[in-house]
Symmetry: C2
Subunit: 347 residues, 2 copies
């Protein structure tokens, strides 16, 4: 079977499975059909061979309709109250007439294939709203792969007409850097703790934050929260100034009492206004695109390797030999690599 | 120029630069020549095209002489006293007749190209000893790449006759997992702190540790250290049992007063004895090899892409277009990937 026939056959197989062509999916998506948005994200997350081309095609066709939302990254250690904040913040955005999409990157669940119900049950009021779309963590084998799918999901949500995209992650390390490379505004949630206020979260993550929000400034806890806020505000003044001239803000909120949540949105709005005028939103997005160009390329190249049946069979065999100590990993890698380049020439 | 001529020419160019063939280098290395060991590590760390083949050849030729050392990973947060501990521990090992190599993986310095003098000045007494070899952090662009070079450096050190290899890293996240995947024994250094003893270091890192050492149990500070030790010992009892039946130990040491350092070595010796008999050292190393087989493969594949001049030129051009917003990163990636597969067929 030659390439063209294979493509045709794969398309048929896919359409028989999903009952919908890419153009139909796009049209439904653009009409604001939530089920179509869900199916689209499932398509781009799919690892099936027959889904790869349609997924790329769908994203390409969505691209002209992307870029008009405000993309916000939200991070913080477990227990800081991310879901409660997003529930309260999301409802405020809906009141202001926005359509809100919530996506998540959770590195700890990437190996288990992603949480399925977790996020929906966490944000009970928000999840039933007509103007809100919540999608749990993408499945995937590598953090980079998961993050890439989340970034493409942003595009799909934008094409479906969402105005604000919230990308949630856990504040434990590398995932922040990836989220930071796909959002316009990066929000760090923190708890007012006793003692050293800077512990628990890495300085690098603080330096990425455009605003820092002390959560749980609930009745009776306001003073402690305000004290923490001042300490952080002082600490952030010591960070080097930014290219876009933005000075990171420190705020307090009570998510359960819906207090000062509007301050956060006010802060983000002034950030967006200021940086749209000086052009730094656009230039940052272009820089992010250049970063993702390389990430996407790497994934395309590696996927190609891991999709070749002959190579995979040889890899399994080599792994067995390496596992019982009969072959060195370096020799095995060189052999497999040689086999792969051989195969490349045949295609 | 065909492949064979290219190889020949590259070899000539390399030998003119270094004045030494791979076989000479290997012979000098095996004779315990420290300068040859240094040059060998520099060779495998090199990104020059003409160094790739000789580096692979050198490692292959070293492999029969590897595997006889005790490989120890050492981690802990900045300020825990890793260098002081290694200085004291290294001297003890030398007293016991061991030849000791110290390697380092520092994720924070990987982007700046690695520390050049840092490690040597930190371990003043150790670094001048005849039986000790200290090599600062490998240079590299990715943490995985740096770690892979460190793993290959372990092989070179073993071929050069070193009995104990210490691999040092900073306890901040992903680098521990990589170090853990190349050592026999994983040592976590911790400070006795007031309050919550489990803060500051992630549970995942504690679960990887075969022993936990409370540092700075210096005169006057012994009680506090002992208290912390007990708390950690209790915490570790709650971790799930291990396949190799080893129960992680908690100890205290004073590096500056050279107190109880011998306990640490005693603990490692009993670990090695127990796990050599039950075969788990060997099976663990084989599992590590299978992991690194995949890592090495990925690097070979990506290196091939990034070493093609035509592809690189196109990549630079695409990056420019993406940076000024004239091309989407997805389209650019697909185009570059198509160009690459085209090139593959021509070779």
């Amino acid at each position: 079977m030659d390439q063209e026939h294979l493509e045709h056959w794969l398309n048929l197989r896919r359409e028989r499975r999903t009952g919908r062509s890419v153009d139909q999916l796009l049209a439904d998506l653009r009409n604001g059909n939530r089920e179509a948005l869900s199916s689209s994200i499932t398509l781009i997350e799919s690892t099936r061979l027959e889904d790869r081309r349609p997924a790329a095609e769908l994203i390409s066709k969505c691209l002209p309709f992307t870029g008009k939302s405000v993309r916000i990254g939200i991070t913080g250690v477990p227990g800081v109250g991310k879901s409660t904040f997003i529930e309260s913040f999301g409802k405020l955005l809906v009141e202001r007439g926005k359509r809100v999409a919530v996506l998540a990157i959770d590195p700890s669940s990437s190996s288990s294939g992603g949480s399925i119900l977790g996020d929906k049950t966490r944000m009970q009021e928000l999840s039933v709203m007509e103007q809100v779309f919540i999608r749990p963590t993408a499945a995937g084998t590598t953090l980079g792969g998961v993050a890439r799918k989340t970034r493409e999901s942003i595009f799909l949500c934008e094409a479906a007409g969402f105005d604000v995209i919230l990308v949630e992650t856990v504040g434990v390390g590398q995932s922040e850097t990836l989220v930071h490379s796909m959002v316009d505004f990066f929000l760090l949630l923190m708890l007012a703790g006793a003692g050293d206020e800077l512990q628990g979260i890495k300085r690098g993550i603080m330096e990425m934050a455009d605003a820092l929000v002390i959560t749980k400034a609930d009745s009776g806890n306001e003073q402690k929260a305000e004290l923490a806020r001042r300490e952080y505000a002082n600490a952030m003044h010591l960070f080097p100034p930014r290219a876009n001239k933005w000075i990171p803000q420190a705020m307090t909120v009570s998510s359960i009492e819906h207090k000062q949540i509007d301050n956060v949105w006010g802060c983000i709005e002034s950030f967006i206004n200021q940086n749209t005028i000086n052009g730094s939103i656009e230039s940052t997005r272009n820089q992010q695109n250049a970063f993702w160009l390389n990430e996407t390329l790497k994934e395309l190249i590696l996927n190609d390797f891991y999709s070749k049946e002959i190579v995979l069979q040889a890899l399994r065999k080599s792994e067995e030999l390496v596992l019982c100590g009969e072959l060195s990993s370096l020799e095995a890698a060189e052999q497999l690599y040689a086999l792969y380049t051989e195969q490349q020439k045949k295609v």
